[in-house]
């Protein structure tokens, strides 16, 4: 504290020691301020007038002096303090210079009035906060029942169901049997075993290349579903026979008919 005395000799000798000390405290405690508005409010108190009659021009100058001194002290001010300083410098110029008729936007007086309003409002809220905290408080000045009795909750549950629920439940049960686990309808299935059986009896005649589609069983070509099943199983059976070395398969090109012929047995 004392070392700041020399750094900040008061420019007004009439100022009391306490005023000078508080002015220095401003600098030292800059972190203690809750933003530029708070600082402005504190500075405004040195004017010792009602906030309604405060000189905004003077206040702006005080703030700018503060920022200057902080700079000289190499105290880093947060950006919002500098933004406020810039704005106040702008406000100051507006208040001092005669208004430019071409200039739109708020006049210096309007801006100053708003700042005064903000300061007054902040001060009012400070006073309110103080009055609020000065009230009798629960648990400090007045007290609640020390032995509260628990209210026993008797809970009753009403279950609801309507006739529709009832009937739907019943239908659900009674129709459950109609939905057996899914089983393949085997009427339209031509199994590979059947195809093998059929082809074994026929391949003896296939000395020359034969389109395997000619091995499809009779009556299976009509419906697409049956034709697919028979084709698939006949194809699978052909592969099986080729694997067993009973037949040879060939296909002249992609998607061309698959042809089959009996494989000559060495020991035959």
């Amino acid at each position: 504290m004392s070392e700041h005395h020399d750094l900040f000799p008061s420019n007004d000798d009439a100022q009391s020691v306490s005023d000078r000390l508080s002015a220095e405290a401003l600098i030292v405690d800059v972190d203690g301020f809750e933003g530029p508005l708070d600082l402005l409010l504190t500075l405004s108190r040195t004017q010792k007038v009602d906030l309604m009659r405060i000189s905004i021009l003077e206040l702006a100058q005080q703030y700018l002096d503060f920022v200057e001194r902080a700079k000289a002290l190499r105290i880093e001010l947060a950006a919002d303090y500098l933004v406020m300083a810039a704005w106040l410098a702008f406000l100051k110029s507006r208040l001092l210079l005669p208004p430019d008729p071409a200039d739109e936007g708020p006049s210096g007086e309007e801006m100053a009035a708003h700042l005064a309003f903000q300061l007054e409002r902040l001060q009012a809220m400070r006073n309110c906060a103080a009055r609020l905290m000065a009230r009798d408080q629960k648990g400090r000045d007045f007290f609640v029942r020390g032995i509260p009795e628990n209210v026993e909750t008797v809970r009753t549950v009403n279950y609801t169901a309507n006739l529709l629920d009832l009937m739907q439940a019943y239908s659900r049960i009674r129709t459950r049997d109609e939905f057996r686990p899914f089983v393949m309808d085997r009427n339209d299935i031509f199994t590979m075993e059947e195809a093998l059986e059929r082809m074994r009896g026929l391949i003896g005649f296939a000395v020359d290349w034969v389109d395997i589609s000619s091995y499809l069983p009779d009556g299976w070509g009509a419906s697409p579903m049956r034709r697919r099943a028979a084709t698939a199983s006949t194809f699978a059976a052909s592969l099986e026979l080729a694997k067993a070395g009973k037949v040879e398969l060939r296909q002249s090109e992609t998607f061309a008919p698959l042809e089959l012929r009996r494989k000559a047995q060495e020991n035959e």
């Binding site: 020390g146 026993e152 909750t153 009753t156 609801t160 629920d165 019943y170």
Partner: protein, 211 residues
């Protein structure tokens, strides 16, 4: 005790009037988390107070009120008047939908009454929990019917008049048959989900109720 100088200054003054002392006892008894003894009252009240006398006045004042000043061992406390104990209960009524297990059981009883538990289980394909039956009996929707004259003489269940009233039926025979249900579009056209739902298990009381 933490501020002995308060007591010291108090001795300079007269004890507060009895009306004030009564107020003090009233406030202390009200706010204390435990019953308070006369000694503790005197300790907490300004010097010269007579808590015992103040208690007599206070007790009289609360005679016939909604709360009484009661002696609890060596200490004193406010207590709710005995005849108002019923106010310390709060009744809440909750409405819930009957669980799938319960509604199915109820439906089977309604359509097949009199029906035994074994028959219900056969139709539903799962065991029926005791809780389900109990709940339906408690709701006065089903009751015991005659025992079946078969080995083991199993009890049967039938629906009650209350059931008929609730569902707006003259008799259980008025329930629509399967064919009518189907024509009314009430039959589900899709098979039930393959995955067994928890309610199908019917093992647990808690599963009685749908969320």
């Amino acid at each position: 005790m933490s501020e002995p100088e308060v007591n010291a200054t108090d001795t300079l003054f007269e004890a507060p009037p009895m009306g004030e002392q009564e107020r003090m006892v009233e406030a202390i008894l009200f706010a204390s988390a435990d019953p308070v003894s006369v000694k503790e009252l005197n300790d907490r009240m300004p010097h010269g107070c007579d808590a015992a006398e103040a208690l007599v006045h206070l007790q009289k004042r609360y005679e016939g009120r909604g709360v009484h000043v009661m002696r609890v061992g060596e200490a004193w406390a406010f207590r709710t008047a005995g005849d108002l104990g019923f106010l310390m209960q709060k009744e809440t009524v909750e409405t819930r939908k009957l669980s799938r297990a319960a509604i199915e059981t109820l439906a089977i009883i309604a359509y097949h009454q009199p029906v035994t538990r074994a028959e219900i289980e056969e139709i539903r394909g799962v065991t029926v929990s005791r809780g389900t039956i109990d709940l339906l009996i408690e709701m006065d929707w089903i009751r015991f019917g005659r025992r079946r004259m078969t080995p083991g003489r199993p009890v049967t269940f039938v629906v009650t008049q209350n059931f008929l009233d609730h569902f707006g039926l003259e008799s259980a025979r008025d329930l629509p048959g399967l064919k009518e249900l189907r024509s009314a579009g009430l039959l589900e056209s899709r098979p039930p989900p393959v995955e067994p739902t928890p309610t199908d298990e019917d093992e647990d009381q808690t599963e009685l109720f749908e969320d």
